[in-house]
């Protein structure tokens, strides 16, 4: 299975450098891909992975260096040419056309040799490819409204339809649940057997070790190491990535004793979305929400935050029954919601770090005549910049220019600044690198210890298991059970999430809130 040196490499990148303004994004890096290998590329955000991908797909041109395809030096001038050369990429943010049908999304840009669209063929082939992927979608429906996982599936189908020779997968699993990841891996395996070279980028080390043949690590735009999987350990890889040792992540200090009940939810329902959700969150507790993508966990979070209020059910917050119809209302109660989608829902990208952090409480910064106190705003931002170790030259930097991890920290700062009593975290570590992930986990831990109740929605199973005091599992809008830390195992949660029989040792305990 290992890449055999006897095979000729399909793609070689030699001594590539690329600079943007003041940032040296890539500095003399080289990478070789062999047919039929899965080559994992590791590195913190900012290590230069994205830039390398964009050079491979023709979006950027290198300042220096050489690209060799099948032994021939090539110039990749644009995305179209990259496709023709058989290089395709699946990005971490799926690039779909919401108004086009699923089938067209798969075939746009390459299916037609003539100026005409052969609808019959497109639909048939799209169905065939998705069928192979084991994804059931009406390929004639517009892609608008597809979940991230479904979008990802469409992207993968598209790459497959391209019959690529080099497939770049930039965090394809970021939005997939464990079960979906397994499916994806089966697919990657199939592609590998067909001789496709796969450049696989992920922040989830367990996945990397499960699938990769070779592992290359970048740091700060430089090449650090390339090793066979058998020669590398997780610890070693992390050391290469961050240049230092990282302590045990995924480890919440268990709540010493369960605090008083902060939020109590009974029979929360929203027609057509979720129904009969009941649980409690106590002060200082992390309640994990596990489930497959599409299990409607986010919708429960949105209901609690008043974005998409529930139709029925009881919410008791700090002992007082209440209805939450709008985010302002939720904020007044002391609820904060950190969205899963940083770029679309979480941050105003062209605004500064400061402006983003102070946004929810902006009116508090109004001094005389309603004028904003810029100095106070900046102080707040500086405080969080230090507390959360946000890496940026200053707090006036546009948030859009930060790495994912730092953006995530800005989001956290934004909501911590509202001094929440209940913090809803939706995929708090999606798409951020190991180092940042550990830092986020430390922050969550610290917050819980301060007595904040936390709901953590996550598709990263090890994270859920490591960080939660209890785990609520949802499946297709229904609550499948609540597990204590002690009883929550990967197998049992997966079983609940996919609707199989839950292995019975140790016995699941109805947790006061009961099972659905």
């Amino acid at each position: 299975m290992l890449a055999s040196p006897d095979k000729a490499p399909v793609l070689e990148m030699h001594h590539i450098s690329k600079r943007f303004d003041a940032t040296q994004a890539l500095d003399d890096v080289s990478l070789t891909l062999y047919p039929g290998e899965v080559h994992a590329l590791l590195g913190e955000n900012g290590a230069g992975k994205s830039t390398l991908i964009k050079i491979m797909t023709g979006i950027h041109q290198p300042d220096a260096g050489e690209i060799v395809l099948d032994g021939q030096p090539v110039q990749i001038a644009n995305a179209m040419q990259a496709q023709r050369l058989g290089i395709a990429a699946i990005y971490q943010e799926p690039m779909i056309f919401p108004d086009l049908s699923v089938a067209e999304n798969i075939f746009i840009g390459h299916a037609e040799r003539t100026p005409f669209v052969n609808w019959g063929r497109i639909v048939r082939e799209a169905e065939a490819i998705l069928g192979r992927l084991d994804v059931k979608l009406d390929v004639r429906m517009p892609a608008r409204g597809l979940t991230l996982a479904a979008q990802q599936a469409v992207e993968i189908a598209k790459a497959i339809s391209l019959q690529v020779r080099v497939l770049i997968m930039d965090e394809p699993t970021a939005s997939l649940s464990a079960h979906e990841v397994e499916q994806l891996f089966r697919l990657v395996d199939a592609l590998r057997r067909q001789g496709v070279a796969i450049l696989f980028i992920s922040h989830r080390l367990d996945e990397v070790f499960a699938i990769a043949d070779r592992v290359t690590v970048f740091r700060d735009g430089r090449w650090i190491s390339t090793r066979l999987r058998s020669e590398v350990t997780p610890e070693g890889a992390i050391r290469d990535m961050v240049g230092r040792e990282i302590g045990d992540f995924f480890a919440k200090t268990p709540a010493a004793q369960r605090g008083e009940s902060l939020l109590s939810v009974r029979g929360l329902s929203k027609r057509g979305v979720f129904s009969d959700i009941s649980f409690d969150v106590h002060r200082g507790e992390v309640l994990g929400f596990a489930g497959l993508v599409g299990a409607r966990r986010t919708d429960v979070g949105l209901a609690l935050f008043g974005i998409e209020p529930a139709d029925s059910g009881e919410i008791v917050f700090e002992g007082r029954p209440c209805t939450i119809r709008s985010p302002e209302q939720a904020m007044r109660l002391g609820i904060a919601y950190v969205s899963e989608d940083r770029r679309q829902l979480g941050l105003s990208l062209p605004q500064s770090i400061t402006a983003n952090i102070t946004l929810p409480l902006l009116r508090r910064y109004a001094a005389a005549f309603g004028l904003l106190d810029f100095k106070a705003e900046e102080q707040t931002a500086e405080r969080y910049k230090q507390q959360l170790a946000i890496r940026a030259p200053n707090v006036q930097v546009e948030v859009g220019k930060l790495s994912g991890g730092n953006q995530q920290k800005v989001m956290l700062a934004k909501w911590l600044n509202t001094a929440p009593k209940l913090l809803i975290l939706d995929e708090p570590t999606r798409g951020i690198d190991v180092g940042a992930k550990a830092e986020v986990h430390h922050i969550i831990n610290a917050l819980a210890q301060q007595g904040i109740g936390i709901i953590m929605i996550s598709s990263d199973l090890p994270e859920v298991l490591g960080m939660s005091d209890r785990v609520l599992v949802m499946r297709e809008g229904r609550q499948m059970g609540v597990f204590d830390r002690a009883q929550a195992t990967q197998e049992r949660i997966m079983a609940a999430a996919i609707g199989g029989a839950i292995p019975d040792s140790p016995a699941p305990r109805a947790d006061g809130e009961g099972m659905a």
Partner: protein, 338 residues
């Protein structure tokens, strides 16, 4: 190789340079340009448009558009005239006209903010509908003979050489700049214009902000309409017809993105100065009619095109030279900093 300091790449700097050229041209070409009465005229002749341009700046930064402003101006002027002709006291008539403007804005705002219709569609309907309402009020009549004090407000200097409308404009300019740059509301306008979901998820009452903006737009358009009535001393059904495109042109030349989320009042103020002085200069040089609008149209295009081309030329040059030299303008793609 020429090196532009980064300040020069900013939109406002470009506008300032254009303004300097226009002023220089005017000064050298016409002996009348620098006369104080002419300089007052520069503003006075378009004062109502530039007042509305201020609130239009907010609307466009917010990611919306209001095509109905000119019709609201006309309607407010017609309301004043109609009520005056029917014997209503002038102050009351003005008050009613302002209320009507506010209601028009609220009507627009309701459909846009609460029903969620695109503002282009709603205000296009408003453009037709409010003009129609103005027609209903005045039919084929022209109403004037306003009280002397009312006409004087529009036609005579109030402080120094400045008439009321000009003072209103400068006060509003300062107020608008403060609101946009220094208050929570102004920040909301930007954030919503950039991405209204982010705003909603931050607990900002997006609908309320939009509603208020359109109400302000209606109110200020009505105020401008009343000022116009005072300046012209008479009102007809077609008063202020067609002003919307001029107003939008001013805002866009000011560097406000039509897609919302960015732009500054400094830019809009500069763009107003450019357009007004350019028009004045051309008028003084006896260039009128379509040629004037054509020149302004060309300026609008070139002001965006030229910096784009220069930027790409520089990018091209630097690409052709070996790597690690000078910085290249590459604003399009995000750069990771970590």
């Amino acid at each position: 190789m020429f090196h532009l300091p980064s300040a020069l790449r900013r939109w406002e700097t470009l506008l300032l340079a254009i303004l300097a050229v226009v002023v220089l041209f005017n000064v050298t070409r016409s002996p009348f340009y620098l006369r104080i009465d002419n300089l007052v005229n520069v503003f006075e002749l378009s004062i109502e448009k530039i007042i509305v341009a201020l609130v239009m700046t907010f609307i466009i930064i917010n990611g919306e558009i209001d095509l109905s402003v000119a019709s609201v101006m006309g309607l407010a002027a017609c309301v004043v005239a109609r009520l005056h002709a029917d014997g209503v006291a002038m102050p009351l008539a003005v008050l009613v006209a302002l209320t009507v403007g506010l209601l028009c804005g609220a009507f627009n705002g309701f459909w846009i903010a609460y029903v969620g219709l695109p503002s282009l569609a709603v205000t296009l309907a408003g453009l037709i509908g409010y003009r129609g309402a103005a027609r209903i009020l005045l039919e084929d009549k022209s109403i004037g003979n306003f009280p002397e004090w009312f006409n004087a407000l529009g036609q005579r200097p109030l402080v120094g050489p400045f008439p009321l409308a000009l003072i209103v404009f400068f006060v509003m300019l300062i107020a608008a700049a403060i609101i946009l740059q220094r208050t929570a509301f102004g920040r909301y306008v930007y954030v919503i214009g950039n991405n209204k979901e982010v705003a909603r998820y931050a607990g900002i009452r997006v609908k309320q902000v939009k509603m208020r903006l359109f109400m302000a737009s209606g109110l200020i358009a009505a105020l401008a309409g009343v000022l116009l009535a005072a300046r012209l001393g008479a009102v007809r059904g077609n008063t202020a017809e067609g002003f919307e495109l001029d107003i939008i042109t001013m805002v866009l030349l000011g560097g406000v993105s039509i897609f919302g989320g960015s732009g500054t009042l400094t830019g809009v103020a500069l763009s107003i100065l450019i357009i007004l002085n350019l028009r004045n200069g051309m008028s003084l040089a006896n260039i009128t009619g379509n040629t004037q609008t054509g020149v302004i149209g060309a300026l609008l295009i070139l002001s965006v095109l030229v910096p784009n081309l220069v930027g790409r030329l520089r990018a091209l040059r630097s690409r052709m030279r070996p790597a690690t030299t000078g910085p290249t303008p590459q604003p399009a793609q995000e750069v990771e900093i970590s």
